[in-house]
């Protein structure tokens, strides 16, 4: 797996792990994508979800299973995941636009309206994006969740943004 060598997952690896929402579910609106494919002892995502859409169970090394029918894409799980491995992908955000929400624990925080370079799982710049929402309530415990609007065709690839002052992405 590329995640064991280069450190990042591919969509194929996520699908193979049974961790990827269906195409039909993506068309219905925002949905959580849980990019956690290694059995580690961790389960806060399970209690984070108010809709019972994430199941870890016993033992706690089980991989989280998301029920895409129950998931509303609310994003409460995003800041709770200690591995920062949950994203909300909305392929119905607007005309030709998708939106991706991700945890962002760097300074300075971007501002809503900022034009940014959106990066993929490997940190490569893939397109321009606009920061459309930043949530950082106390309950997120210092893990702000940033939402960036990008061309809908890039919504499954974008997983973050270039940090301010970051010298280019990974080549």
């Amino acid at each position: 797996m590329s995640v064991e060598n280069e450190g990042y997952l591919t969509i194929e690896e996520l699908k193979a792990a049974g961790q990827y929402p269906s195409g039909a579910r993506f068309q219905e609106g925002p949905v959580a994508v849980i990019e956690c494919v290694q059995e580690i002892p961790c389960n806060p995502c399970e209690t984070a979800c108010r809709f019972g859409a994430i199941r870890v169970g016993e033992p706690i090394t089980n991989l989280p299973k998301a029920d895409e029918g129950k998931c509303t894409g609310c994003g409460l799980c995003v800041a709770r995941c200690p591995g920062l491995a949950i994203f909300i992908v909305d392929k119905t955000y607007g005309e030709g636009l998708g939106a991706v929400s991700f945890p962002y624990e760097y300074f300075p925080l971007p501002s809503e309206g900022d034009e940014v370079t959106a990066v993929d799982r490997a940190g490569r710049g893939v397109c321009a994006g606009t920061v459309v929402k930043i949530l950082a309530p106390e309950s997120f415990d210092r893990t702000p969740v940033v939402t960036v609007a990008v061309p809908v065709g890039k919504a499954e690839d974008v997983r973050g943004i270039e940090r301010a002052g970051q010298a280019g992405g990974q080549s």
């Binding site: 450190g7 990042y8 494919v37 002892p41 806060p44 893990t143 990974q170």
Partner: protein, 373 residues
Amino acid sequence: MAQNKWEVVVVGGGPAGLSAAIEAAKSGCRTLVVDANETAGGQLFKQIHKFFGSSAHRAGVRGIDIGGELLAECEKQGVEVWLNSVAIGLFKEKTVAVERGFDNGAKSVVVLEADRIVLASGASENAVRFRGWTLPGVMGAGAAQTMINVNRVLPGKNVLMIGSGNVGLIVSYQLMQAGADVKALVEAAPKIGGYAVHASKIARAGVPIHTGHTVLEARGDRRVEEADICAVDEKWQPLLETKKTLAVDTVTIAAGLKPLVELAMMHDCQMMFHPVLGGWAPLHDAKMETTSPGIYVAGDISGVEEANTALEEGKLAGISAAESLGKIGEADADRIRSEIWGRLDGLRLGPHGVMRMQAKSEQIDHYKSAQSA
């Protein structure tokens, strides 16, 4: 002098030592923690990330916040904590020599008599030797983490990280949070050692992770200015033709940890070498008692793991010490211990955990054969 006589003396105020002290004090033991640092908490106050684990037991809480909770609980339970105080000797009849530090900077050596002793001294970082490794700017990843998260000083702007265990991955992330750039992470093994989610965090932040690579040399006038990395072959020998030079001012080494066992060795605790646990560690039973009766171990000294297991092992040691002093009944102690073991077993599952689970049970098996020999 009453101050030099304690029911339980805990050496080391990290997660294991503090949780041992809390459990012992809760059961009514007069308990002292001796810690070499300015504040107790061990490595917890530099763990600014959210911890894994079970949401029933503080998973998702940042280490720094767990440290604060433990210190508050120690105070509530009446645990005495001596800071800037180094345990310099552990002798027969359970006496501990401590170079005690005082608030005004004065130091004096005192010899403590303890009914029970919990050794929770933690672990130290392994070094990697390469040309230029003594240049300023080459440091342990743990040292860099202390600089950024405790002292709020950036060790450098452009970093080369050596090692892809969780320490290397997490400290890389935190160096970027502190404002540095991590130019590359090299790992000699063919696969990343730490958790994939930690690796993914730094990968999407643009850090190239080079498995099958090592550091060859760091160069610079008075401090690191650049470093060479290259691929290694299947026998871990450098392939010089693949050499690449990186402009970095800092090289951080995350090559694993080894248990700090000197005090246990002074007391002739029987030891066992296990590569999975970081090297030599004292044998102990399921109550964390060593082959020297009344001397317990908890946390990384008993085999390098992580903070969650250290917290649980500390509880085992604290409760067992209290039980052996008659402060808590056997049935209660057994019940609590079996709950703790249930959690420890849960933390030692999965591909990263099973090797540790096996190593720990080998330790306990060796303890049993050492006792029956």
